[in-house]
Structures are given as C-alpha cells and as structure tokens.
C-alpha cells in the first residue's frame, strides 16, 4: 500500500482511499468528524487484525491477483511454458494441504515454493475460500478420441493392473471431497505431468514426514502412459 510512489504514476494505487475531510459549518463538521472518527476506528481495528480474511482486505486482493496472474482470474488454469493447473472449484482442504506441502517442501515445485512461502495460515484459508466457488468452463483441448477409454478407467479402474476406480475417492463427477482433490476440468497436460512424475514432486519429506499424497503413489505407478493420457483427456472435459 505504501509503495505508490515507486509504482508507475499512470496506474491506479490499489490502497484504500481516504476521503479528505472538508471544512463546513461547525454543526455539520462536528457530526462529520464523529462519523470520520468512527469509520477510522473501524478501519484501524480491521487493519489491526493481522492477515484479516475480509474479502475487501487489500492484502488478500493483491494476493488473489498474484495467483490469478498465472492461474487466470477465473482460476481456469493456463497453458504456459509449463501447464498451470486449474484452481477453480478445488476442495478447500486439498488446496490448503497442497500450499502447506509446498511450504514444508513435501511437495517440490520451484515456483510454488517461493509463492507458498510468502503466505500466512490465514491467507491460505482465504485463498482456498476464494477459489472453491469459481466455476469457469474447462480449458479443454485434449484429444477427443481418448475420452471414452478414459471414462471407463475413471469409473472402473484397471483391475488387471491393480488400479482402483478413481471415482471411489474423487467422486463420480470427479468433484473431489475434503482432502481428495477435484479433477474435473483439470488441464490435460497437467494431469499427465503430475501422474507421470508423482515420485519426483510429491512425498518429498521422507519417512519422518508422512504425506497424504502417499495414497496415489502405487496408483500412479501402475497406470501406463496411454491409460494416463486417456484418463487425463476424460477429466479435462468434465465440468
């Protein structure tokens, strides 16, 4: 908020505006002053609560903008140099778990460690709450011919390979539940990357730091490349 002078003069300062008081008649100015003082008291009280989760909090607003710079304002995700995942509609428990995993380095990702590290616990909750209610259309773009096979795998698993039905934990519409993430509408190349690289990214805390991601480890291992692509294609189209 204070860095307005170092920002480009043309762009709006995002800090809350403080309307200047205007001198009027004595009676009017007295009541105005009372109102001003009351408002100021409320503002200061609000500011005094560190990391308030109030939706109008400028720090939260700035952080949401920061997330959406990459994940997009709708939380839809984006195909950058690396696929940037959809956050819209994500289960808040899973969302917070992942940010915490980045902070604890149980989940390794160069960019997200830096990002997550700057977030307080209250901010994690506020961000999770913001994204869980967003619902843009899926980005799509996966090969259509894979969707049918993917749907079968999602619903039935691959018993011969000891892969359980995904719907059992992720829900029949892949919306997730609690710590099980929503998969519906997730980016096709992102799902492939995550399933293919499970061990390289997740559960990096070692045996002394057990991780909720461990449940997916054998499943990710047992799926072969074409099965992963099929399931990813199916999920990427789900609303």
């Amino acid at each position: 908020m204070e860095a307005a002078s170092s920002r480009h003069p043309i762009w709006k300062d995002h800090s809350p505006s403080r309307a200047p008081t205007e001198a009027g008649g004595l009676k009017v100015s007295a009541s105005k002053l009372t109102l001003q003082t009351a408002l100021l008291a409320v503002c200061l009280a609000a500011a005094g609560r560190a990391e308030a989760t109030n939706a109008s909090d400028p720090a939260l607003h700035a952080k949401i903008q920061y997330c959406t710079d990459c994940h997009q304002p709708s939380g839809q995700g984006y195909l950058g140099a690396t696929p940037i995942p959809r956050l819209a509609g994500q289960q808040s428990e899973y969302f917070k778990n992942q940010l915490q995993a980045f902070i604890d380095r149980r989940r390794v990702n160069f960019f997200m460690f830096k990002v997550a590290h700057s977030l307080s616990p209250e901010m994690l909750t506020a961000l999770a709450d913001h994204f869980k209610d967003l619902n843009p259309k899926p980005l799509g773009g996966a090969p259509a011919e894979l969707v049918e096979a993917g749907k079968k795998i999602f619903a039935e698993g691959v018993p011969a390979a000891n892969v359980p039905s995904c719907s059992t934990c992720h829900g029949p519409e892949a919306k997730g539940n609690g710590q099980f993430p929503r998969l519906a509408g997730q980016l096709y190349p992102y799902i492939i990357k995550v399933l293919t690289n499970w061990d390289k990214e997740r559960g990096q805390g070692g045996p002394e730091h057990p991780d909720t991601s461990a449940i997916m480890k054998p499943i990710a291992h047992n799926l072969n490349e074409s099965q992963i692509e099929a399931v990813a294609a199916y999920l990427s189209d789900l609303e």
């Binding site: 860095a3 170092s6 920002r7 480009h8 043309i10 762009w11 700035a62 952080k63 903008q65 920061y66 959406t68 710079d69 990459c70 997009q72 984006y78 195909l79 950058g80 140099a81 690396t82 940037i84 160069f110 960019f111 830096k114 990002v115 590290h117 700057s118």
Partner: protein, 216 residues
C-alpha cells in the same frame, strides 16, 4: 563489310549481355523484386527491423523479430490490422492492413528462423536482479515468475512470445505502456499480461528488460 559485321557482332554481344542480366528473377536489387512478393515484403520489414530481424535502435526502439514464435507473430500482425493493438510510436505498423493472411504466415515463418546475436547495450548492473525476477518472480511484491509462461530461456511457445534478445528500451516501453497499446476496445490475448505489467515497478521492469536483452 567485315568491319560492319564485327560492329554488328559487338552490338549484338552487348545487347545479349544486358538482356541476359534482366532475366534473373530472384535478383537482390529491389528493382528486380516483383511488387507484393514475399521477398519484397521481407525487405520492407527488414528496412526497420534489421536485416536479420535483430531489431534496431532508431528514434524509437524497433523490436527484434528474429526467432519469434509464429503464432505470436501472426497474432500481433492481426492485432495491428484490427486495431486491437495501437501503433504507438510505430506509424508504419498501422499500414500493415495490406498484408494478406498468406503473407502474414510466410513472414512469421521467415522471421522465426532467424537468429542473430542480441543487440545488448542494456545497463549491465541490472542483469542480476532481472534474472532473479525473471526466474523466481517476487512473491512478496506479488510479481509472478516470467519463466512459468515464457520458458526458462525466454524462447516463448505457441502464442506466448519469445523475449530473449529483445531490445532493452523496447521491453521497458511495452511493459510500462501496456494499456495504451494493447487490448484496445476488445478482449485480447494480451489481457493475460495486463495485471502483471501493472504489478511491476519501473525499476523491476528495467531489471528484467536488461536481463532479457542479453539472452541468446
């Protein structure tokens, strides 16, 4: 008779030489390029953007086109034609509506393959900071890492532009004037950069621009 014959022979020989010269269709001289041909257009672009598309520090900084992704290149030409991108300080760019889609694609393909050394000439002391910002962003200032979209070597991909080797003053101008140039009137692929350009302070912009200007 003999002398007249030899004069005739000499005249014929000279005429043969002169006319055989004009038979070369792909000559490098502008006079021999067919109007509207691809070669003529490439020469026209190169007049300002540099013979290898490396850009040029004119009165205004004229951007590097070499190595640009074809999708981004074509998007920008279309944006100029449709006036979604203002030709800020770039009067000739407002005249590109003469380019047919086929010519736009051919020009994009041509420039994407060029690779001259960067012009450089940015303040060296800024490069270290610029590299940090480019690779990691500044989480506490809510500045995202550029490389997440533009790639670890700033080579871009698909509709996301290559930034490597771009002219320092050009990059600074673009980031500081995003709203004045891009997304004029209609939602545009450039919208992605708008909030990011807004988050950056001038010194952050200069640092990143300096870093990028040296990348090969």
């Amino acid at each position: 008779m003999k002398v007249a014959n030899s004069y005739l022979a000499l005249a014929a020989a000279i005429l043969a030489i002169v006319f055989s010269g004009s038979g070369h269709a792909g000559g490098t001289s502008a006079r021999y390029l067919a109007r509207g041909s691809l070669q003529a257009k490439i020469q026209y672009c190169s007049d300002c953007h540099g013979i290898s598309g490396g850009g040029y520090l004119g009165y205004f900084p004229i951007p590097r086109l070499a190595g640009q992704t074809t999708e981004y290149f074509e998007n920008q030409l279309r944006a100029f034609v449709e006036r979604r991108r203002e030709a800020y300080a770039a009067m000739p760019m407002s005249k590109v509506h003469g380019l047919s889609p086929g010519l736009q694609t051919a020009l994009a393909a041509h420039f994407s393959q060029l690779n001259p050394a960067p012009l450089g000439e940015a303040p060296k002391r800024l490069r270290e900071t610029g590299k940090d910002i480019y690779e990691q962003g500044i989480p506490d200032d809510n500045v995202p890492a550029c490389q997440v979209c533009h790639g670890s070597e700033a080579s871009g991909t698909r509709g996301i532009p290559r930034l490597a080797g771009q002219l320092y003053p050009y990059t600074v101008k673009e980031l500081m004037n995003w709203d004045r140039e891009r997304g004029q009137g209609v939602a545009d692929t450039s919208a992605v950069m708008r909030p990011i350009a807004h988050s950056l302070t001038k010194s952050q912009v200069e640092a990143v621009a300096a870093y990028l200007s040296d990348l090969e």
